[in-house]
Each structure stands twice: as structure tokens, then as C-alpha cells.
């Protein structure tokens, strides 16, 4: 089943609606997650609406200093990555409205979008001229590249398993029983991909690129006001979008918003559960970690399939 041939213009509106829901969901969910993290530390944490206020505040800032076109385009690219990722992945399976622009082979595009934002950000941050940005970018890219490797392998194993590159079809194949989920049918690929998932969620132990204690705070050092607002939006959108992919690929997708909310939250929490209680790796240590654990499992999953 491909979505492209029977494309209708109204789907743009539907997709935007999806986007809107996802952004708001992301706003609240990240705040809730931060509250949960804070609770481990024994605090209350931010109010749930804090993300909205921060966003508004950043938009309300008066002075905007640009360092050039790329500097401006950085957050835009980054947001494009997030939006694009979401746009080309079916958010709710079987829903006419939230099918988005999913089409056969969208898995490749999705993988591309996962990386697209990071690259755009790298360009923009490099333009900002701050040494911390430059160092942060090089570290971040090195790590993300390594982290994506197991994902790529896992996804490769998956496409071999399901013989398709269409996410919708992969989701469809997992419907019916919980044991149809890839996590049970192909646990190795899932583990490989989850390693990558944890590695790219920008949480401990893999958040060295943005670590305030070392190179504060990496790529976004120079970003402020509206630029930062764009990035903030992406900060809530992108992880959700990425989680949606994982959910679709490995955890049976979602057939309703409620299921979506629960699954995304649970998946997201995996990285939080690990992140809160661990210190962060150095760049080369995390690379070594991916090479040592992620890569073999990914290769193995392909071999198993």
C-alpha cells in the first residue's frame, strides 16, 4: 500500500495537524520527563507549561545577532530535519489523517532526515564562530555518526526481515499480536537500534557534545532569541519524531493517539532511565562503546536474518 498515488492536498492540512499535536505533546512530555528526572533528585522540577513560557520568552527577546546566513539556516535545517522526519513517517497507523506523507521507501528518507538536522546544525554552529560550537560540532558529529551505525545495521536487518522499505508496511506486519512486534521477532536488530536510540537522544552517557561542564554547551553556544526558539521547538519535536520511527519499526506502531502517547513516552523514558543515573562518556569512549556493542549486534542481527 503506497500513499503517494492517491495523494490529496488535504493531507497537507492533516500533516500539519499531526505536527501541531506532536509538538504540543513533545512540549508537555519533555517537561513531564524533566519533572520525573527531578523527582529522582528529590525536587519538583519545572512546571509542565514551562516549555511554552521559555519558547515565548525566547521569541519575545528583542536583540537578535546573526553571524551570517548559515548561522540562521542552522536551526532552520535542524527544524526541517525534525519536521521532515515526522512528515514522512506515519504517525498513527491506519489513520487517514495522520498518515502523513508516508510512501514506499520512506525508511530511507527517514534515516536521511535523522541525520539531516545534525548536519545543518553543524554548518550553522560552525558559522557562529565560537570555538565551543566548533569543538562541539566535531565531537557531536563523530558521536552521532557512530551511534547511527548500529541503527543503520538494525534497519537493514529489518528491511531484510520484512522485505520492504515502507514503514507503513513494516507497521502493518507487526499488527495483530504483541508478539508480532519486531522486538520479539527480531530482538537483535532491536537492541542494535536501541543502542543507537539511546546514543542519539542527547542524554547521559552520550551527551558529551552538549555537556555544560566541558564545552558549554557545544553547538548551540551562540544561539539565542528566535534562533534558540526554533531549536527549542526542534528539541521537543525531533526526539518524538525519532521515537515514532522506533515505535513504528520495532514496537508495533500506534493505532490511536493514546497508544501513541504511551508508547512514545515509554520509549523516551528508556533513554531517561539510563541517562539520569549515569555519568557521561567521553567522545572516544562512547564511540568505542558503539563499536564494541552496537556494531557487533547490528552485524549479528543482519546475519541472523
Amino acid at each position: 500500500m503506497t500513499a503517494f498515488p492517491n495523494f490529496e492536498w488535504v493531507q497537507i492540512a492533516y500533516a500539519l495537524l499531526t505536527l501541531f499535536i506532536v509538538i504540543n505533546y513533545g512540549m508537555v512530555m519533555t517537561a513531564v520527563v524533566r519533572k520525573i528526572g527531578a523527582r529522582v533528585g528529590g525536587r519538583y522540577g519545572i512546571p509542565v507549561w514551562q516549555n511554552y513560557v521559555d519558547l515565548l520568552k525566547n521569541i519575545a527577546l528583542r536583540s537578535k545577532i546573526s553571524h551570517g546566513v548559515m548561522y540562521y539556516l542552522g536551526p532552520v535545517f535542524r527544524l526541517t530535519g525534525g519536521v521532515g522526519l515526522l512528515m514522512f513517517v506515519p504517525t498513527i497507523y491506519g489513520s487517514e489523517w495522520h498518515q502523513n506523507f508516508s510512501y514506499a521507501g520512506d525508511l530511507i528518507l527517514a534515516l536521511y532526515f535523522v541525520f539531516f538536522g545534525t548536519l545543518g546544525m553543524a554548518l550553522g554552529a560552525g558559522e557562529s564562530g565560537h570555538p565551543h560550537s566548533a569543538i562541539g560540532v566535531s565531537r557531536g558529529l563523530a558521536q552521532v555518526t557512530m551511534a547511527e551505525l548500529p541503527l543503520a545495521l538494525g534497519v537493514f536487518a529489518l528491511s531484510l526481515q520484512y522485505q520492504t522499505l515502507d514503514i507503513t508496511e513494516i507497521v502493518a506486519a507487526q499488527q495483530g499480536s504483541i508478539f508480532n512486534w519486531t522486538v520479539f521477532t527480531n530482538p537483535l536488530a532491536t537492541v542494535a537500534a536501541m543502542v543507537a536510540f539511546v546514543g542519539t537522544m542527547m542524554r547521559s552517557p552520550f551527551d558529551v557534545a552538549m555537556a555544560p561542564q566541558e564545552i558549554p554547551i557545544g553547538p548551540p553556544t551562540e544561539y539565542h532569541s528566535s534562533y534558540l526558539a526554533l531549536m527549542q521547538t526542534n528539541r521537543v519535536l525531533f526526539p518524538v519524531a525519532k521515537t515514532v520511527i522506533y515505535m513504528n519499526l520495532f514496537f508495533g506502531g500506534a493505532t490511536s493517539w493514546a497508544e501513541f502517547a504511551i508508547k512514545v513516552f515509554c520509549l523516551y523514558m528508556i533513554s531517561v532511565v539510563i541517562g539520569v543515573v549515569h555519568p557521561r562518556f567521553r567522545v572516544e569512549q562512547s564511540i568505542r562503546f558503539f563499536l564494541k556493542w552496537g556494531l557487533p549486534i547490528g552485524v549479528l542481527s543482519i546475519l541472523v536474518v
Partner: protein, 392 residues
Amino acid sequence: MFSFKPDRSQYPAPGPDGKIEVDLETGKYLKLWHGPNHPGITGNMSVELTVCGDEVVEGKTHVGYLHRGFEKLMERRTFIQVFPIVCRVCVPEPDFNEYCYAAAVEELAGIEVPEMANWIRTLILEMGRFNSYMMAMGGISGALGLGVVGQWMTYTRDIMLDRFEELTGARIYHMFILPGGVRAHLPEGFEGRMEEVLQTAETYLADAEKLMFHSSVFKTRTQGVGVIDPALFETYGVTGPNARAGGVAKDVRKDSPYLVYDQLDFTVHTETASDIYARTLVRFKDLHETIQLIRQILKKMPKEGEVMTNLPNVLHWKIPRGETYIKGESSRGEYGYYLVTDGTGYPRRVNVRGPSYTHAMALLEHLIPGTNISDIAALMVSLHTYPPEIER
């Protein structure tokens, strides 16, 4: 699989004075400032790093951001007027300054301190050590991105500050140890409330232990990093937990007991690895020792007695000519006050020997070359330095 060991041969060799001539204009190196506006730095100081990729070729410590000229200010204050400002020399553990200064003045002026005051002073110092270690534990975990331990430790420190507040009347700068004694007795029911704090602390420390010393990631980050060669301890003046982490069982409290430490039982813990992990572990064990010491002091201390002697009129108090040096074991190493008097109502010279002085300057500069940028923060925190006592 990979070797990340730095290939030092590509970098210029240090000159005879230890200085490395780095030609920035080759484009190979990058100057990077750590601080003073930097969350990973221990207080308001900065390290000027020259990096090559991820690796630091050279580090220069820059201090002076907190310089208030204490030693000069003390010279124009009377002996009692110096008392409120000494504690400002070291913010996280101010009591050591108060004790060392008071003891120096008492020695030169020939004042006897009541027994009770000595016990309370010891208690205060141990409570201060507790706080300082808590800061250090929180600091090292914060520097490595383990924020949650930092939260717990700051909380425990904070409830200890409540006890401080109750006893001394202030949270941070207690200004409690006057020359001649201390200001007040323990308040009613203090022991019980202190015990609650200690128990809470022990609970949190048990959890923190799992997150730190039983965490593979933590070990990966800290073991074998920032090793101080024990041979350097003497030449670089390394004291306190930093030296104990390298197997030197030296502790002023044990070696030349002051106050009532000769009446207390405690162990001096050592490690051998002398890396960040070992230093943190020594502090961790010492923290438990401190908790035991506080319990011990509260149990053993006399219940009654004067806490303060009558001083001569402090508005024009003159102390005969002399000089002395008073030292104590702070949470960071040997802390000392060198006081010179000249028979007038003002000190001729006060010199503060903070352990951070050697740790954060010469030693840090020696340790930095060859480390990864990511480890700088952890390295600095593991040396447990407080910049205000360097520049005063």
C-alpha cells in the same frame, strides 16, 4: 581496539622553565578558555587551554578573579576586626580560617581556651568538613554529568547547613570561632537533630555509592585519569586526600593533633591508584569517617562549661611581637595561617596557606597536558580546589 594515547612527539617540548612554546598561528592549535564563566570550573577561576583536537597540549591556570586583598585588609584591622573577614577566604569551608586565625592569635597573645570551646570547635570543623566533602562529591558527579548525585549531596549539605544555622546563627559564613573560644553552647536537642542529618546523609551516600563507585561508566571515566605520580607529592606540596589517594597516610589531625583530635578515634584512609577515582573514593571514605567523628564528638564532649574566655578590651587589643604558623587538616589538605605581629594593635602580616594554592596552580598545570578536554572539569574537581584561597 583503538589507542587514544596521545602522541606527544608531535607537540613542542616544554622549555627549561616548563613553558611550552605553542605557535598558534600554525592553525594546529586552538586556544580555549575554561572559565571564569564556565559551569565546569570550580569557582571563579579560569584555565587557558591550548588544545589540539580533543587533547590539551598546555594549560595555564589564571586566578585573581576573586582577589580582595585579604592579607592587606587584615593589616589595617584590629585583631578582633580581622575575625569576620577570615572566613571569607574560603567559601565552602570557612570554619578552618576561623579556627586557624583564632588559634594563631591565642598562641601569640597567650590566651587559654576553655575545654568546652575546643570540643565545639572540633565539632564545627568536622561539620565543615562534611559540607566540603559533600560539595566535592556533588562536584565530581556534576562534572561527569551525574546530576542526580549532585542534587542529593547538595541537599544533604543543606540540611547540615540548617544545623550550622542553629548552632552558629548563620548558614555559610558562621563567624563563630572567636579568638578566645566560641560564641555559644549547643542548642537544646542538637544531638538528636544532628543524628537525623547524619542518617539521611548515610542513606544518600549509600545510593550515591552505587551510582559512582559501582557504576561502570563512572569507572570508565575516572579510573586511570589524572594520575599524580606519588613521587611528585613532596615537590608539588600535595597534601590531604589528594596525597592519601596515592598511598601517603598523612593527616594533620593524626600526626600533630590539635584541638581534641587526640581524644577521638578515626582512621586515615588511603588508596593507591592516585587517579580521579581513588581521590573520590578517599573522600568518600573520609566522609563516612567524618560522620562517625561528629557522632563521637557529640557523645564524648562535656555537657557543661564555659565556651569563651574574657578577652582584654578588643577595641584596643595589642599583641606582643612574634610570629607563628597554625595548621590543620582541612577537607582539601593542610590549611595554615602564618601570623606575624609587631606589638601594635594590628597584625603585621597574615598569610593564608590554602591547599588549593599548590593544587590548583603548579600541580594542575603539571597534570593538564595530555588530558582530554572532557576530563579537565573532572580533574579540577577531583583535586578539590577552591579558588578564593589561592588568591585571597
